[in-house]
Symmetry: C2
DNA sequence: CTCCTATAGGTAGAAATGCTACATATAGCG
DNA sequence: CGCTATATGTAGCATTTCTACCTATAGGAG
């Protein structure tokens, strides 16, 4: 799947991956990959900066821990993040409907 | 509608607007706006560069004319453009299905 | 023990793409 | 005459994802 197609929709997906409970960054990447049958397999250079962005925006909150000798930064949704996720779902629905209609091909309005 | 959401999907929409026959740039913009009930109302600074990109890529072919004292550049799909449009539709279908599934919320696979 | 892979986090710089703001020019209406 | 719609265009900005790197630990293969 052309990954650039995600532009503008990744944040919602990352938030959704955290909806069921806290996860660390690497687990978010894996969850997204597994949930989409491998079709969305983000490079780490995309995941980590995106999580930092979301944290800076106050949509998720991270905390350090050490598990099995490896340090982890575990993220969870903030209240604002939950609201943002709900908004992302609404926007996606509208966006998908509009693009599907326009692309799918019904007759286009006549223009001179 | 958040306009950045279009990133990566605009080309397909522009190609679709030309599927039924040639149109000039301004008409493409209007057709897209009318077909989407005003939800996709692109600024000219988006439309014209995008059409130039598509022409450079060989997906559309433009030609100058003068109608009512105004110069127009009329575009039509090339064969390659038609194939690209078909591909864009396929990619959109898959993309929309994957994002809808991941965002829509079924249970996420467990990860430690 | 050493090498390789998976796990875990990260940054720097490039590439793509849509937007804002501006510039130009004609037609037509009030 | 000025304003709006039509018609095309460019320059530079902003955002976002990607590629290519770097660091480090755990654990299995050899």
């Amino acid at each position: 799947m052309r990954a650039e197609a995600l532009k503008g929709h990744l944040d919602g997906l990352l938030l959704a991956a955290l909806e069921d409970g806290p996860r660390h960054g690497y687990a978010v990447k894996e969850a997204l990959r597994d949930a989409t049958d491998g079709r969305i397999d983000l490079p780490t250079g995309t995941v980590y900066p995106a999580l930092h962005r979301l944290e800076n925006a106050g949509l998720i909150k991270g905390s350090w821990s050490v598990v099995g000798g490896r340090r982890r930064r575990t993220y969870e949704l903030t209240e604002q993040g939950r609201r943002s996720l709900a908004g992302a779902r609404d926007h996606w629905q509208e966006f998908a409907a509009v693009v599907s209609a326009a692309l799918g091909g019904g007759p286009w309005p006549a223009t001179n």
